[in-house]
């Protein structure tokens, strides 16, 4: 990436890279240009894996996500409107931002919100930067989800803004059952396969509503990020079997 | 089997009854126990306080005194872990001396560990009985031997014992060798907590297998007027098997 910017003068701040590396080599008694001769330790799955791929992944995902403090809903594609409507109504949300990479899903949700009369905030507009802290709800899809922990995984991109799942007090995430993986290991073995866009800058694993226990160890949700996370699990696998 | 006993300085001088119990129980189980007279100290005070040249000399002495024996048993988990965990680090890897030290480490056991892991003793099958209420303080060095849980399960095998749980039992009593005299306020505060937990257990007897902890805890109990018997597990087993017979032994 060679975007010339006004910060380019900052490129050579600090210690020269070669001097810096030479000091590390010196500490290790290593020579420049050496290679790694011993095998790099591989992850020992027999120790670290906490969820087997043959478990009932949607059930475990729902169970764990709930334990993390997220609320779980199940929906067939045609029930999605009612589910979203219920959640928005329950939390008195007048406006929402949609941040959905899946085209068909995006179209559906847009129609649903139009039918519900929910004001739609456009995160591609120039006012988004300030607006993101005032919008009532963010609706996103996900890259993947993890049965092991109940986490959802969202990457940034041309259709998904980082702010949409971090700034609003309420986050609704749409998870298709085919996106649920067993273990963190399974995801990080092939993270790029699950990306909606190949060249993106941020991926976040979200595991619950925003939390803090800084004041006397008392657990409080919703400190900076969303205090409420609703997950709608869409069964996209049953029909194909 | 012939077992060489490493008695340790504290047990030798302050808790002889505990050492006697170890001998009696091992002999009862059919072992022949020898006591190499040239033994002194494992060198842990030197090692822990940074005097590693002296600690190395004492490790060499220990090796010289105990090398010839098949099995070495000591009543102290602290000294056992000194020999097992730390002796090897004092010698350069790959040298003959290091290999000899490693061989020594492999045949050195803490007394309870030896009974549980090597001899696979089940106290229920020995027919021992011990009446009384007791609570157990697992010494910190059992951590490095990985014996925390096993020691407690072993005690539970004693018929007649009323084992009372101790809150925060895994917490250090505050002894820590030189720590107790370098930072007496912190150390004393730690042992006060320990005494409070022991008192709250309501037990009459404290089972403690580490002479250092016993000195610290019993000394604090004495100062605070908390009446409790402090005994090692070896003593309890020996009593339960009726092995303490003559006056001058008990």
């Amino acid at each position: 990436m060679t975007t010339p910017t006004h910060t380019s003068q900052a490129r050579h701040l600090g210690t020269d890279r070669e001097v810096f590396l030479a000091k590390i080599r010196g500490a290790l008694g290593a020579k420049k240009g050496r290679t790694i001769t011993e095998p790099v330790p591989d992850v020992d799955e027999s120790l670290v894996r906490l969820c087997q791929t043959d478990e009932d992944l949607p059930a475990r995902f729902a169970d764990r996500a709930q334990a993390l403090g997220m609320q779980i809903h199940h929906a067939k594609v045609n029930e999605l409107g009612a589910q979203i409507g219920n959640i928005l109504e329950k939390h008195n949300c007048k406006e929402a931002v949609t941040s959905i990479a899946h085209q068909l899903l995006n179209k559906q949700v847009t129609e649903i919100l139009r039918d519900l009369g929910t004001a739609m905030i456009d995160h591609k507009s120039t006012s988004w930067h300030d607006q993101q802290f005032d919008v009532d709800a963010g609706i996103t899809d996900v890259d993947a989800a993890l049965a092991e922990t109940g986490s959802i995984i969202i990457s940034s991109g041309a259709h998904r803004s980082r702010g949409s799942y971090l700034a609003p007090p309420l986050h609704i995430a749409l998870v298709r059952t085919s996106q649920i993986l067993a273990d963190l290991i399974d995801y990080f073995d092939c993270k790029n396969d699950w990306l909606d866009e190949p060249n993106q800058s941020a991926t976040v694993l979200i595991s619950g509503p925003s939390k803090t226990a800084d004041i006397e160890g008392i657990l409080i949700t919703g400190v900076h990020g969303p205090g409420m996370v609703h997950i709608i699990i869409i069964d996209d696998q049953s029909q194909s079997e | 089997m012939t077992i060489a006993l490493f008695i340790t300085c504290l047990t030798d001088n302050f808790y002889p009854r505990s050492g006697i119990a170890v001998v009696k129980v091992l002999e009862y189980l059919g072992h022949s126990v020898v006591f190499p007279q040239a033994q002194t100290c494992c060198g842990q005070p030197m090692y822990n306080n940074g005097y590693h040249n002296d600690a190395r000399d004492l490790a060499r002495r220990f090796l010289h005194v105990f090398e010839e024996y098949e099995t070495i048993v000591t009543p102290s988990a602290s000294c056992a872990s000194m020999i097992r965990e730390y002796y090897p680090t004092l010698f350069k890897a790959g040298t003959n001396e290091r290999m000899a030290i490693e061989a020594l480490s492999e045949k050195t056991y803490e007394f309870v560990e030896y009974l549980v892991r090597v001899q696979k003793v089940d106290l229920r099958s020995l027919g021992m009985k011990w009446k009384g209420s007791a609570t157990y303080h697992p010494s910190c060095h059992l951590r490095s031997l990985g014996m925390h849980k096993e020691s407690e399960q072993f005690i539970e095998q004693i018929e007649g014992i009323d084992l009372r749980p101790m809150a925060n039992s895994e917490q250090c009593c505050g002894f820590g060798g030189s720590f107790a005299v370098n930072y007496p306020e912190i150390s004393a505060s730690m042992v006060r907590d320990k005494v409070a937990d022991i008192k709250a257990s309501g037990a009459d007897t404290l089972v403690c297998n580490e002479a250092g902890c016993s000195m610290n805890i019993a000394g604090a109990c004495q100062r605070q007027g908390v009446v409790i018997n402090t005994k090692s597990l070896a003593e309890i087993i020996a009593e339960g098997l009726g092995l303490f017979d003559s006056e001058n032994e008990s």
Binding site: L28, H129, Q200, S201, A202, P226 | G19, Q37, P184
Partner: protein, 490 residues
């Protein structure tokens, strides 16, 4: 406890050197309420760690800790290669990587970048490295208003106080001190309700995020082969810090590197369980360079400042394993001494507890922190809690060794141990000395009939200040043995 330390010039984390711990110990020993507060918080966290880790890993827990330690150790043993690889891959991903040899240089780089980009307001997420280099005051001195956005750090910033725990920075403060700080500094209505206090902080900071033109974060992990920067947070301030402002600066120590992205799960599974008994932190953010052209938001520029600041000095020694540390704070929670001294401030440096007792002297000089290696009963609770299997007690002992070797230890102590060792190396002398000692101790105990000494001279005096010392019985084990075997020399 929890006195409001407004504009207190004394900074407990950057004290005058050499730092002696005695005053802090005495102060803490007199503050029973603070002790109980820290004790309750750390004990609960420690139990939580054991339960969650046992629950997840069962009997594999120790093996998992070793495994994580092995991966980290491998990385450290080849750190030259992995740092170089990281610089290349992060640069390819579009970040600008800078190397800082010292704290001063690290501060300078950040400030220069901020000035070149005309930054006025900085939002900062929690980072130990920025504490280590004392960044915030340097930014403020350069005219860049800096806001700590982690709730605990924010409160500490309002009070001009210093964090006292790696993960729970305000473990030494209670809700009343938060209430007072908010009322005083934010002019909000006085409330002691943690939910309302949190809400006040949320509202206050949301606008700041929108206004900020600079975000500064630390990093929990760097991935050598992808150039990824991984951040683990719970509040969501980390995510906003690295998303909303147009410029993002990452401050990170070189030891945070791991070789590949597929190694990350091993550490994610251990970090949150060890730190806060969670299966995983609420937000695990993986950053691969700045915002791409087609992306909607994110910083236009991302700078990564790699920090040495004494790390290569640790790398050089047999304390290399200390750099495996993933800053989970489990050793602090497990440590009975940390609890007694009322938390982190007593350690006189940014890194406290068992981990701090080792790395502070290593980074800042043993002669500057001669007490820290000795304020430990070597109970090993820290080693047992460490998710990357660092043998902290052994490292403390090695520092004591170095103090003997370089004669930092006082002569009297060195002579005493020398004399003791001379005795221990000679069995006859040892037996004689044991007898004499026993006689003296029994004589001392004769003043009362209990068989206990309640006032002793010298080091024994320290012992007997608050507890008795036993007098040895008249017959030693050896005496019995010689009778038992009929006096045979064996």
């Amino acid at each position: 406890m929890t006195v409001d330390t407004i504009h207190d010039k004394h900074d407990p984390l950057h004290p005058q050197l050499p730092y002696r711990i005695a005053d802090s110990v005495n102060r803490a020993m007199g503050d029973v309420q603070l002790q109980q507060f820290v004790n309750a918080a750390t004990t609960a966290r420690d139990r939580g760690r054991v339960e969650t880790c046992r629950d997840a890993f069962a009997e594999r827990y120790d093996a998992v800790r070793r495994h994580a330690g092995d991966i980290k150790q491998h990385t450290l043993d080849h750190l030259d290669i992995y740092v170089e690889q990281f610089i290349d891959s992060a640069t390819t991903a579009g970040a600008q990587v800078h190397c800082a040899a010292s704290a001063e240089e690290a501060r300078h780089i950040g400030i220069e970048i901020a000035k070149a980009n005309e930054c006025k307001l900085c939002v900062k997420s929690k980072s130990m490295v920025t504490e280590e280099i004392d960044l915030v005051s340097a930014l403020e001195d350069s005219g860049i208003k800096t806001l700590e956005t982690d709730l605990g750090e924010f409160i500490i910033q309002l009070d001009n106080d210093a964090p006292s725990h790696i993960v729970m920075p305000m473990i030494h403060k209670d809700r009343r001190s938060v209430a007072r700080a908010f009322e005083r500094e934010l002019k909000t209505k006085y409330t002691e309700d943690p939910q309302q206090l949190t809400q006040i902080a949320r509202e206050y900071m949301r606008h700041k995020f929108a206004q900020a033109d600079l975000g500064i974060s630390g990093a929990n992990f760097l991935i050598a082969d992808t150039g990824d920067v991984v951040l683990c947070t719970n509040e969501g301030n980390g995510g906003l810090t690295v998303s909303t402002p147009r410029l993002h600066i990452v401050y990170v120590g070189i030891e945070k590197i791991i070789p590949r992205l597929d190694h990350l799960p091993v550490f994610l599974k251990l970090l949150a369980r060890s730190a806060t008994s969670q299966p995983i932190t609420v937000y695990t953010t993986i950053l691969t360079g700045p915002k791409r052209e087609l992306e909607i938001d994110g910083p236009k520029h991302m700078h990564i400042i790699l920090l040495d600041n004494g790390r290569t000095d640790i790398l050089r020694t047999d304390a290399r394993e200390m750099l495996r540390c993933i800053r989970c704070g489990a050793c602090l929670n497990a440590c009975p001494v940390y609890r007694k001294v009322g938390g982190g401030h007593a350690y006189g440096a940014v890194y406290s507890g068992p981990i701090g007792a080792v790395i502070t002297p290593l980074m800042k000089g043993l002669h500057n922190y001669p007490d820290l290696p000795h304020v430990s009963s070597l109970c090993g609770a820290c080693f047992e809690a460490c998710p990357v299997h660092i043998d902290i007690p052994r490292q403390l002992i090695n520092l004591r060794r170095d103090m003997v070797t370089n004669r930092t230890m006082p002569l009297s102590g060195r002579l005493a141990y020398k004399l003791w060792a001379i005795v221990l190396k000679r069995p006859l002398l040892y037996r004689l000395a044991s007898r004499i000692m026993a006689l003296i101790l029994r004589r001392m105990a004769q003043s009362n009939d209990s068989g206990w000494i309640n006032k002793g001279p010298g080091p024994l005096g320290a012992w007997t200040a608050e507890r008795d010392f036993p007098a040895p019985p008249s017959n030693s084990f050896r005496d019995w043995w010689n009778r038992h075997t009929g006096g045979q020399e064996r």
